[in-house]
């Protein structure tokens, strides 16, 4: 056992920390530990199941009772791995029969229920003591840290249960719903009847699996607790540093001795003196501080520079970051050399062949393209057909290009011009009103004119137009009779409305006749 080879940091720890170190140790060798444990326990469990098929409770009880026997294998692996001599899986399994010999009966009988089982096991298995010596040793070791070992066992029992129930729940959660429905609690209670033996064995197997996960950690924690106790008891950490110190000091002494000897052996010669005397300039260092110095010791300037460089290339001095982004591929511009040209030609040939192949594929592709387009069009047609009523009901109303017609003007300069507000026989009414109410008569006639202009001639009149603008619009119709009638009527209407000058009496006849000729006969038939 050489402490310098230990693969864990040796220092006195608190008992809890020693347990944590055990977790780390088991974690480092997890693969080997779990695999070896599984290879030992699972076949044994299978054997027990076969032998005690009708008594699953006894099978798991026997398996559980034999736990200290399996625990020797992980301890063997860990003890060798601690000093860097990790055995392979095969070596470990081969060593198992030899491990079982000593103290097996004690482990399986009166030590079986010892709460410090994992803490005591290294003493039994690794120290090879016997009788009184072993007993004293156990007493000395358990003066401290035995409490932590007990708690480890107590927590371990609960962890086993938690893992077992966890695995069982997981198993139950993963059952398909159809199977789970068929299981009633009644059936599970009646499991002892024999029908459900395989289920009990299955749950026992889950316990075996849970042990595979936990037990190596348990053994490793007990082992590191033992190591911690011995570190405190025997000053392992002190011994380690003392040995290094001794090596450093005696090593330096030897080196000094050797250096002095070499120096003395080398007698000064004439050439040495001559060189140094004749050309002192050459001694001057051309490279200054960059030159290699301190060459006679292990830490030369060059080596120091190297290690400085190494340090500077590591974090936190060096911060490298890899950023991955998508970007367009750049066209690779290559200068074609002759060999490349040949290769290029070959490549082109292949490309042509590929293109031909593609052409042949093109037909297939075209077919599928057509098929897909046809499918798409068919789908669209189907959709339109399916929703034709909806379309008919709503799309027409949407009225894409139809502008809603502006409501016809109903009033111009405060005059009602809607056709309904006019009497059917405008000219007759005017003639009747002319004598008593010339204002009403002329107003009626003007209103009727505007109404007709709006309705029959579709003049775009609106409330902002003045009488003169209306006249101009009428002239735009190129209808001379209408325009002269309008002019005359407007003139007299304006005279009456604004100037309060009554129209001449003979005008009545003219206007009414013109009106009849223009509207009652010609246009409105």
């Amino acid at each position: 056992m050489r402490l310098t080879d230990a693969s864990v940091a040796i220092r006195p720890r608190s008992p809890w920390e020693a347990l944590d170190l055990g977790v780390l140790l088991a974690r480092r060798h997890a693969g080997l530990l779990l695999a070896s444990w599984a290879l030992v326990t699972v076949p044994l469990f299978a054997l027990l199941c076969l032998l005690l098929w009708d008594y699953p409770g006894w099978a798991i009880f026997t398996f559980w009772w034999l736990k200290p026997a399996y625990e020797r294998l992980p301890l063997h692996i860990l003890a060798r791995a601690l000093f860097g001599d990790t055995p392979s899986l095969g070596q470990a399994l081969k060593a198992l029969p030899g491990l079982l010999g000593p103290q097996l009966l004690a482990s399986l009988s009166w030590r079986r229920f010892s709460p410090t089982r994992s803490f005591d096991l290294p003493v039994l298995q690794l120290e090879g003591l016997s009788g009184q010596a072993r007993r004293q040793r156990l007493v000395v070791l358990s003066q401290r840290d035995a409490g932590a070992a007990t708690w480890l066992t107590v927590v371990g029992v609960h962890l086993e249960m938690a893992l077992w129930l966890g695995l069982a729940s997981l198993f139950y959660l993963l059952l398909p719903a159809q199977i789970a429905l068929d299981w009633s609690w009644q059936n599970l209670v009646n499991a002892a009847a024999g029908e459900w033996l395989w289920l009990e064995h299955l749950f026992n197997l889950l316990y075996v699996l849970a042990l595979i996960l936990w037990e190596p950690f348990y053994v490793a924690c007990g082992f590191t607790l033992y190591l911690n106790r011995r570190t405190a008891l025997e000053g392992w950490d002190i011994e380690l540093v003392f040995r290094q110190l001794r090596q450093r000091l005696t090593g330096v002494a030897y080196a000094l001795l050797l250096g002095c000897g070499l120096l003395l052996l080398q007698t000064p010669t004439a050439t040495m003196a001559a060189e140094s005397g004749s050309s002192p300039l050459q001694v001057a260092d051309p490279m200054g501080p960059e030159a290699a110095r301190l060459l006679k010791q292990p830490l030369s300037s060059q080596a120091a520079q190297d290690s400085i460089g190494q340090l500077l290339e590591q974090p936190p001095f060096e911060h490298r970051e890899t950023v991955t982004r998508w970007r367009f591929g750049e066209q690779q511009v290559e200068e074609p050399s002759e060999e490349q040209l040949a290769g290029l030609l070959e490549l082109l040939e292949k490309l042509f062949k590929l293109a031909e192949f593609w052409n042949s594929i093109d037909a297939v592709a075209l077919f599928f393209e057509a098929l897909l387009w046809a499918a798409l069009l068919g789908l669209a047609a189907l959709l339109i057909w399916r929703y034709r009523q909806w379309l008919g009901a709503f799309v027409g109303r949407l009225g894409l290009a139809q502008r809603a017609a502006a409501p016809p003007t109903r009033q111009l300069f405060g005059l009602e011009v809607a056709p309904e507000s006019l009497p059917a026989d405008v000219a007759g009414t005017v003639e009747r009103l002319w004598a008593e109410q010339p204002r009403a008569a002329l107003g009626l006639l003007y209103r009727a004119l505007l109404s007709r202009l709006l309705d029959d001639y579709r003049l775009p009149l609106h409330g902002a137009h003045t009488e003169r603008e209306v006249l101009r619009l009428v002239e735009g119709l190129e209808h001379s009779e209408l325009s002269s009638f309008s002019q005359a009527l407007t003139l007299h209407w304006q005279n009456l409305a604004y100037g309060h000058r009554l129209p001449p009496d003979e005008l009545r006849q003219t206007l009414c006749q013109d009106w009849r000729r223009l509207f009652d006969s010609g246009v409105r038939t």
């Binding site: 040796i10 977790v23 129930l165 729940s169």
Partner: protein, 248 residues
């Protein structure tokens, strides 16, 4: 002995053969911006499970008392008890962790505390996250995922700790005053680095817990460099340790 940084041992680059793997240790190193290494000691599954059990027990007893007392008040009491149940379930850990330096009563008894990954005191967000995610760790039954995560993580984190970026560490307790055996203070005849000075001091301090034979055996290792016979080495080492300690 206070846990502080160990200086990198000077090593000749020619002889810098890296060991296959760094020695396993339970310490967790955090470097501050001032280039000071803080050494945290993450706590593993067993003490954490015990702390949780204690907390669970306390909560159970509290709930029992609450239900017995408030049960006398009829429906109103039951409603109040239900509210308290909610508070106790979801806020017990959070409030203790935030207001009591990361220590729930169970952690206090076991000497643990919760800190952020960088060693700073745990805050509301991290504490809430790690405690709400207990319901992930519990799955599928009885903290199965939490146990597996705790066993498999180098800093013993359960899933809630990983998500919240927190760490359960051992509290540093102030070290007891060491008592050194009486000896005449001496200067060391050779230069000692920090690690070696510590080992010499530890030899003197822990002498009482080592057997006399073991002390002599350890001291004999350094007899040759000290240039004394092996029998006097122990006395000489104690003297050097006292010299290192200085006047007290």
């Amino acid at each position: 002995m206070p846990h502080s940084a160990t200086p990198p041992s000077p090593r000749a680059p020619g002889a810098s053969v890296q060991p296959p793997a760094a020695p396993l240790d339970t310490r967790y190193r955090v470097e501050t911006p001032e280039a000071i290494d803080l050494l945290l000691r993450p706590a593993g599954l067993v003490p954490r499970a015990l702390a949780f059990a204690i907390d669970l027990l306390i909560r159970g007893l509290l709930l029992l008392a609450i239900y017995v007392v408030l049960g006398l008040l009829g429906k109103f009491g039951m409603g109040l008890a239900t509210i308290l149940l909610f508070l106790l379930t979801w806020w017990y850990m959070v409030l203790f962790e935030v207001f009591n330096q990361g220590r729930s009563p169970g952690k206090q008894i076991l000497g643990l505390r919760v800190v952020h990954d960088d060693g700073t005191p745990v805050g509301w967000a991290a504490s809430l996250t790690r405690n709400l995610l207990r319901f992930v760790d519990i799955l599928p039954f009885g903290y199965t995922l939490g146990i597996l995560s705790c066993l498999n993580h180098p800093a013993f984190k359960r899933l809630g700790d990983i998500a919240a970026g927190t760490l359960v560490v051992y509290r540093d307790t102030p070290p007891a005053r060491p008592s050194l055996p009486q000896a005449e203070a001496l200067h060391a005849p050779f230069a000692l680095d920090l690690l070696e000075q510590r080992a010499l001091l530890a030899f003197a301090e822990r002498g009482a817990s080592l057997s006399a034979e073991r002390r002599a055996e350890l001291a004999a290792i350094l007899a040759e460099p000290l240039q004394v016979p092996a029998e006097q080495a122990e006395q000489r080492l104690n003297g050097i340790a006292r010299g290192l300690l200085g006047p007290t």
